[in-house]
């Protein structure tokens, strides 16, 4: 297995590696880099909103066009180039082979190709900020005709480049997804049955399947939109017989399942973390799995709730209201099961656990506020207001930021063989979670007051230009800056610990799953001897056993 100890050059080891762990790190670092860009964009437009017309330090004057460009690309980056690569690709690549006890992904070269395409897509996106006319500024939903015709969006190069980048990114994740699915289906360690698979893997793979089934129409749609932009065909141009609403359907048929594509891996990471730090068996493993499948399936039936007032037939809205409210059923059941897991546990509040619990607490808020938007009647008012924005940030920030931190703090000892500093971790935790709430709670209120989205300055709307609303905007902006600056603590902790952190043993958290049976960090080939599996993954605190954990690979 890992007997070939030939020296690899820097390039073949880090840039063109086929090792799933290296590829996972590539995804992770690319995602972190993109997150910095996305965060910087958020800083740019929040500064403009709080102090309209000032020279933003480090960015300059935010013109209306730049403002649109910033919000558009902030959204695109955070979803396509941060949440997706980190949650699915980085954790999926790192965890799947280790947790099912095999040496690599089934198609290592396909895996490398997937990352390379992803990297190109990121480069195309970044390049699009510097072309004449600037980057795309028609919102991440990219509704035509605005996105389709340069005479409307004024970004003749930025728009097609943005679209190309998104399409490439999809191709990358389709390839990656195929790899994940086949690996989990076929390459499990001997003895690992369906119910022995750690829940995080189930969730990553179900998310990949959901992604695969939903992204197809949008890939076709992206080709159509690209032709509209370049050749002025008019697939979505009503003056040529097209229909702009079709794009909205194509987009949201993908766009809504996408929410669950990133939610599921996050829930999975949280499941791993809370079981370990509460020393508890996961409450209702099968229930959680079934609700996951139900959520994944139902997520295909709800897409048009993004379009209630967008010009779709009002009769259809009733169908989508019902399905949308129904999807709350499996999701609440899942959340209840997670909370029930804590019952009777022995909770140790280490940094990963803090982040995992914060995920649950914050995500509940995001979930409940979603009901306002899923019910057609109240969505008439809330559609495209800051209420929507605050709602989905209450889901996406827990998903893409908080749960990712939980995962990084938890698996860091495995990834780099060293521990991250606990004190700095806790400082980082409070410095992230408290400002996070202070950013978005005011935005809920602004949304209730009727503040609509993607407006660079509210001075043109007397009802929204009231001083107390402006105070709320300033509060949100200041909180954002505080939150962003606390990420420096994380970055320092992260890079310092890679080189200088306390050395970690093989299984520092006394966890059950197979990745902890490998050395920290695992060598090429992962395991000295590929493990066998004898029991389910969450056998903590089993009565009659001296140890409170029972690794999956330990012979009875």
């Amino acid at each position: 297995m890992s007997h070939d100890h030939h020296e690899q050059s820097f390039f073949s080891k880090y840039l063109f590696s086929t090792d799933h762990k290296v590829i996972a790190m590539q995804y992770l670092f690319t995602g972190m880099f993109m997150a910095l860009i996305g965060g910087f964009f958020a800083y740019g437009f929040r500064m403009q909103l709080a102090f309209p017309g000032i020279e933003v330090p480090g960015l300059g004057l935010v013109t209306p066009n730049l403002y649109n460009e910033l919000v558009t690309n902030h959204g695109s980056i955070m979803i396509f180039w941060v949440a997706m690569p980190v949650l699915i690709a980085a954790f999926g690549n790192y965890l799947i082979p280790l947790m099912i006890g095999c040496d690599d992904m089934v198609f290592p070269r396909l895996n490398r190709l997937s990352y390379q395409i992803f990297l190109i897509s990121a480069i195309v996106l970044i390049a699009s900020f510097f072309v004449p006319g600037g980057g795309f500024s028609g919102a991440w939903t990219s509704y035509p005709p605005l996105s389709a015709q340069a005479k409307y969006n004024l970004t003749p190069l930025g728009a097609p480049m943005w679209l190309t980048a998104v399409a490439l990114e999809f191709v990358a994740f389709l390839l990656g997804g195929i790899n994940f699915i086949t690996t989990l289906m076929n390459s499990r360690a001997p003895g690992m049955k369906m119910w022995d698979i750690p829940i995080v893997l189930w969730m990553i793979v179900i998310a990949s399947i959901v992604f695969m089934a939903s992204a197809g129409p949008l890939i076709a749609g992206a080709v159509m939109l690209l032709f509209d932009q370049i050749y002025h065909i008019g697939f979505f141009n009503p003056n040529k017989g097209g229909d702009p609403i079709l794009w909205q359907h194509l987009f949201w048929f993908f766009g809504h399942p996408e929410v669950y594509v990133v939610l599921l891996p996050a829930m999975g990471i949280v499941a791993e973390v809370i079981t370990v730090f509460a020393r508890k068996k996961l409450f209702g493993y099968k229930t959680i799995l079934y609700t996951t499948i139900a959520t994944g399936t139902l997520s295909f039936f709800v897409w048009a709730h993004h379009q209630f007032v967008a010009g779709i037939d009002p009769r259809m809205a009733n169908v989508f209201t019902i399905t949308t409210i129904l999807i709350s059923i499996p999701v609440t059941e899942m959340c209840f099961a997670y909370i029930a897991t804590l019952f009777g546990g022995s909770i140790e509040l280490r940094t990963p656990m803090l982040f995992a619990l914060a995920f649950l607490a914050e995500f509940l808020i995001g979930g409940v506020t979603g009901i306002f938007l899923g019910s057609s009647g109240s969505d008439i008012y809330f559609h495209d207001t800051y209420f929507v924005l605050a709602h989905f940030h209450y889901t996406f920030v827990p998903i893409a930021i908080i749960s990712v931190f939980a995962g990084i703090y938890y698996w860091f000892p495995k990834m780099f063989g060293r521990h991250m500093n606990e004190t700095l971790g806790k400082i980082h935790f409070w410095g992230t979670v408290i400002p996070f709430n202070l950013i978005f709670l005011p935005l809920f209120f602004l949304g209730l007051a009727g503040q609509h989205r993607r407006i660079y300055s509210y001075e043109n709307f007397p009802e929204l230009a009231k001083p107390y609303l402006q105070d709320l905007r300033i509060l949100a902006t200041v909180s954002l800056i505080v939150m962003l600056s606390f990420q420096v603590v994380f970055l320092f902790n992260f890079f310092y610990s890679i080189f200088k952190g306390k050395k970690a043993e093989k299984n520092p958290w006394r966890a059950n799953t197979l990745e902890w049976a490998a050395a920290s960090p695992p060598p090429h080939g992962n395991f000295p001897e590929l493990p066998q599996v004898y029991r389910p993954p969450y056998e903590y605190s089993v009565p009659g056993r001296e140890l409170d954990y029972w690794p999956q690979n330990e012979k009875a």
């Binding site: 605005l146 003056n239 009733n318 607490a361 009647g377 559609h383």
Partner: protein
């Protein structure tokens, strides 16, 4: 809701009721879930509970702790669905007989309104066309025909709790009935390009007399304008 933003249409109250209903039902479950979560975190922290219990959550005894709250959630869901659809049907799916019809057209980056003139009919010679100014009479039912000239826009009047996207190539019909006089904001709530942030219009809800005066004033201006134009030629 009306403490945050005024209500000025006949159906604003319905939407506010729905919002409050969801806030109460959802808020109850949210607070309950958060309370249980934090109670567990405190009660079962390592110091207070050094040894964890072994509960699979697969037996009926423990599963019922999931299921019963869950059934209760479903009942709440049904309530919400019922009222959501009721509100939706009232606002978007029924068209009460209008007292007047207006035409609203969005373009980059202004709202164009066509009011019926003194004869009360749309499509006649004395129609009054305005840009970024909508004048309506309080307590009259209006039907609007919404169109767009170029890209998507969204006709949004927060005090009415009304929002409807304008789609190029389509004519979408809707209605509202103002219930309060005053001067309010009209927004464009769908990104429509570089000038999206300036695409606001004014809504004037007037009494019958005020509206008549305004119409007559407009008529005079129009006649004068025509005279000037003819003189120029």
């Amino acid at each position: 809701m009306e403490y945050i933003i005024e209500r000025a249409s006949s159906f604003a109250g319905d939407i506010d009721f729905l919002i409050v209903l969801i806030a109460v039902l959802g808020g109850f479950w949210l607070l309950l879930a958060e309370a249980v979560l934090f109670y567990f975190i405190v009660k079962y922290r390592r110091k207070a509970s050094p040894k964890a219990q072994y509960i699979t959550g697969e037996e009926e005894v423990s599963k019922k702790w999931l299921h019963w709250p869950h059934y209760a959630v479903i009942v709440c869901d049904l309530f919400i669905i019922f009222f959501a659809i009721q509100t939706w049907v009232k606002i978007k799916q029924t068209l009460p007989k209008p007292d007047a019809v207006i035409e609203v057209v969005g373009q980059q980056w202004a709202w164009k309104f066509t009011h019926p003139g003194l004869d009360g009919k749309l499509g006649t010679k004395d129609d009054v066309k305005t840009v970024d100014e909508l004048h309506v009479v309080v307590n009259k039912t209006y039907q609007f025909k919404l169109k767009s000239d170029d890209v998507l826009h969204s006709f949004s009047i927060p005090v009415f709790r009304l929002k409807q996207d304008a789609v190029p190539g389509r004519t979408i019909t809707g209605w509202f009935k103002p219930t309060k006089t005053g001067q309010f904001d009209i927004q464009c709530a769908e990104i429509c390009g570089i000038g999206h942030g300036i695409m606001g219009a004014k809504l004037y809800i007037e009494t019958e007399e005020e509206h008549r005066t305004w119409l007559e004033h407009q008529r005079m201006a129009q006649v004068n304008g025509n005279r000037i134009n003819t003189a120029k030629k």
